[in-house]
Subunit: 141 residues, 2 copies
DNA sequence: GCATTATTGCGACATAATTGCAATAACTGG
DNA sequence: CCAGTTATTGCAATTATGTCGCAATAATGC
């Protein structure tokens, strides 16, 4: 069992949830692909996991903090949460739809938590999407 | 005609689009309310604008840069774009659903554009959502 | 392994979004 | 300011997306 899957198994067990086949499959698709819309997820899984179960699994994963949903482009997408990947932000190319993962930046993170703190807000999470044109699209315009 | 509406009229005319009543109404609701989900928008407009026309209008507004959609909490919401309001970010309380508008912060904005630039990306737009607990919910826990 | 309990897949339902088309309203030139 | 032209609307039908109850099935603890 690969280490990622092992971690999933532990998280589930900790919360009194079982590691079922559909959950493994959903997790595997999420760990081997970029952020997915629900439909992409459902299509990738084909008939190996039922539509309803995909929704239920994603709902469970979200409530356990295994995945997070975020808005990219125009659709919301699902990706593994920071506990399974490294915290990052996203860039979406509005022309070709390319999504780029942007690595963490301490200045940025500091500004964000400062902003929350200055308003007396308790931040658990945040997400930033930068939209624009990727290098290829920008140069071919 | 109020100045906001005047601006809308100009933008539409510039793009060869007409200023129709439904478009005015949708715009008015958006300028006098916090970010709206499609359904909130549809309900607020009642039978004065048909469901389908609300979708079509929002689609048009988005393509012209009059509105932008953003994911807050778990739902998509529509708001006027930066050209009609001031640039800002959002905080969503994950307990009570409260949405707070966060005023611009130059450090933050600088970090964001730097991040994009360092990757050779052309940024046209960005959005940040901070999630957590508002003051009331944090203190009543 | 076997019993217990949670989870799944299926079909039915509910809600959200899109489309074709005839009726209507907005813009243009006179 | 009016009539002709063209885009836009409202309506009804359709499709897509998400949810639910329940019997069959699979996972866990012993």
């Amino acid at each position: 069992m690969n280490p990622e899957l092992k971690k999933l198994s532990e998280v589930l067990k900790n919360k009194g949830q079982s590691l079922t086949n559909p959950r493994k499959l959903v997790f595997e698709v999420l760990s081997s692909h970029k952020p997915q819309t629900m439909n992409e997820l459902i299509n990738l899984l084909g008939k190996s996991v039922d539509r309803a179960s995909v929704y239920r699994t994603v709902g469970l994963f979200e409530s356990l903090g295994i995945t997070q949903r975020l808005a990219l482009g125009w659709k919301y997408k699902i990706e593994l949460s920071d506990a399974f990947t490294h915290h990052h932000h996203h860039f979406s190319c509005m022309k070709c739809g390319l999504i780029i993962t942007l690595q963490d930046n301490s200045d940025l993170e500091a500004s964000i938590s400062l902003l929350a703190k200055s308003q007396g807000l308790t931040m658990t999470d945040h997400q930033l999407e930068i939209r624009g044109l990727c290098q290829d699209c920008a140069s071919s315009t």
